[in-house]
Amino acid sequence: MEILFNPILLLLATAKDVLPVLGLLVVFQTLVLKRPIPRPGRIIFGFGAVLVGMACFLGGLDLAIFPVGRAMALQLVEGALSGEKVTWTAYGWVYLFAFLVGFSTTIAEPSLIAVANKAHEASRKAISSWGLRIAVAIGVSIGITLGTFRIVTGTPLYLYIMAGYVVVVIQTIFAPRMIIPLAYDSGGVTTSTVTVPLVAALGLGLASNVPGRNPVMDGFGLIAFASLFPIISVLGYAQLVQWSVQRRSRKKIESEAKP
């Protein structure tokens, strides 16, 4: 991680991630489709901006967000352990912190912003970009809170995940059809640049500090929680919207029926 403090190395590392993708797009456009590249100036400029933006973003995360996040996870666990009796309820602040961190990192997640804007556009503005982002963020925060609870109590991971999948399957049957693909996608979208490293740091920090937990066995799983619960919350959000629309139209019909 120390390497990332060096801006030139960071820019090179980002270029290594982004340039193959640009190369792939350009090769297919010119060699396979045999078409000129539309507005090459804009595209080069845009890629430059993405590159510099990602490098700044990752560098900033390493400088500000991660050290603070790690230090706070450690301090919160120490606080919980200093009490007289150490039961799972002693970790109240840890749960609250997990919840709030899950919510706020998801709101700022660049790929979620991109997908929410695409959904807003693809649904002809029926889906509000903010509504979707908030629904996903609530899902992630509930997921991460449950995940920290699991690490503290040491219950098996697959039980939670299985129960979650069953809920998803039931919701899929009842939710409005048009939201289903988007809801499934929002599970994977949430867990990228900001969320994964911060949440992984929280999980490993918890698992290595809570007595009786093994970081290699219990530290994993938080990301799985964070990708499962947004599916449930987005499907739930769509069901809620559908329900309120139906109720409103029913009321309207009733009031019109009355003389």
Binding site: F28, P38, G60, L76, P181, G188
Partner: protein, 285 residues
């Protein structure tokens, strides 16, 4: 293309029209080369201004929460306040540049490609492209590299493989390649779904059932890792590009709706690695 893009921040539409008007007035070819970069620059700086405001608004919650916890709950002063403030500034500038750059560069190119593939109708090249896009963007994913290394250490600690640096590296690389191939396969499957109009819930629920069944047979040490890898693979570069591909394809093909058919690629890309990694665990152990 540009007329269809309407984003919450980084709104580029009116500026594109303005730059086209400028180009209409200075129609001479040599002037165009002079005006073009200028037009991009003015458009870019205005969009960046809005994106900076948007990014500050997006990051305000996490900053508030960390500050409140530090001051009220832990009651400790911030360590190294200066470097934290500098880092926050970098995060805001980086987020704004990233969003604007995606709007100008990545999204238009990805959508043009998707539309031209759909018009050309060459299934082989489209699927080949989809596979390369999935595999290529995943193999170099920094989060994936970090998580597979941790996972290999965990497996070595459980004495399922030899506990030496060489065998840990080999195992981590094996998992990474497995994940990259599975994402490629997932994007191919997702593109086929869009083309053929298969039902996404059937695919996803079928996949989850498979994941559950395999959980019972796969070695315990790899299950947590496999579950996590599903979420890790879909990175900041992959997600916007794959979404643009899906929505672009669905928009171009008759009888497909961008909302119901365009999405779903990411869901498959997060499901497939779980199946493949558990399979990898079954074969290796």
């Amino acid at each position: 293309m540009q007329g269809t893009v309407n984003h919450e921040y980084g709104k580029t539409i009116p500026l594109v029209f303005r730059s086209q008007k400028i180009r209409g007035i200075f129609n001479a070819l040599w002037l165009q080369y002079l005006i073009m970069p200028l037009a991009i620059l003015t458009e870019f700086s205005a969009a960046l201004g809005r994106a900076l405001l948007g990014a500050s608004r997006d990051l305000a919650p996490i900053i508030t929460i960390i500050a409140l916890f530090q001051v009220l709950v832990l009651q400790q002063p911030f360590p190294e306040l200066f470097s934290i403030l500098a880092g926050l500034g970098l995060v805001i500038v980086g987020l704004a540049l990233f969003v604007v750059g995606l709007d100008i560069g990545l999204f238009p190119l990805g959508e043009t490609l998707a539309e031209e593939f759909a018009l050309k109708g060459s299934l082989f090249w489209l699927l080949f492209f989809a596979f390369l896009l999935g595999t290529g963007t995943t193999v170099a994913e920094p989060a994936l590299i970090a998580v597979t290394r941790e996972g290999a250490k965990a497996v070595a600690a459980a004495e399922l493989i030899e506990n030496s640096a060489a065998s840990i590296d080999r195992y981590a690389l094996g998992v990474r390649l497995t994940v990259a191939l599975s994402v490629g396969a997932a994007i191919v499957l997702g593109v086929l779904r869009i083309l053929r109009g298969w039902s996404l819930p059937v695919l996803i629920i079928g996949g989850y059932t498979l994941v559950m069944l395999m959980t019972f047979f796969a070695p315990k040490e790899i299950v947590g890792l496999a579950y996590d890898l599903g979420g890790v693979t879909t990175s900041t570069v992959t997600v916007p590009l794959v979404t643009a591909l899906g929505v672009g394809l669905a928009r171009t093909i008759r009888g497909r709706d961008p909302l119901t058919d365009g999405f779903g690629l990411i869901a498959l890309a997060s499901l497939m690695p779980m199946i493949f990694v558990m399979l990898f665990g079954l074969i290796v152990h």
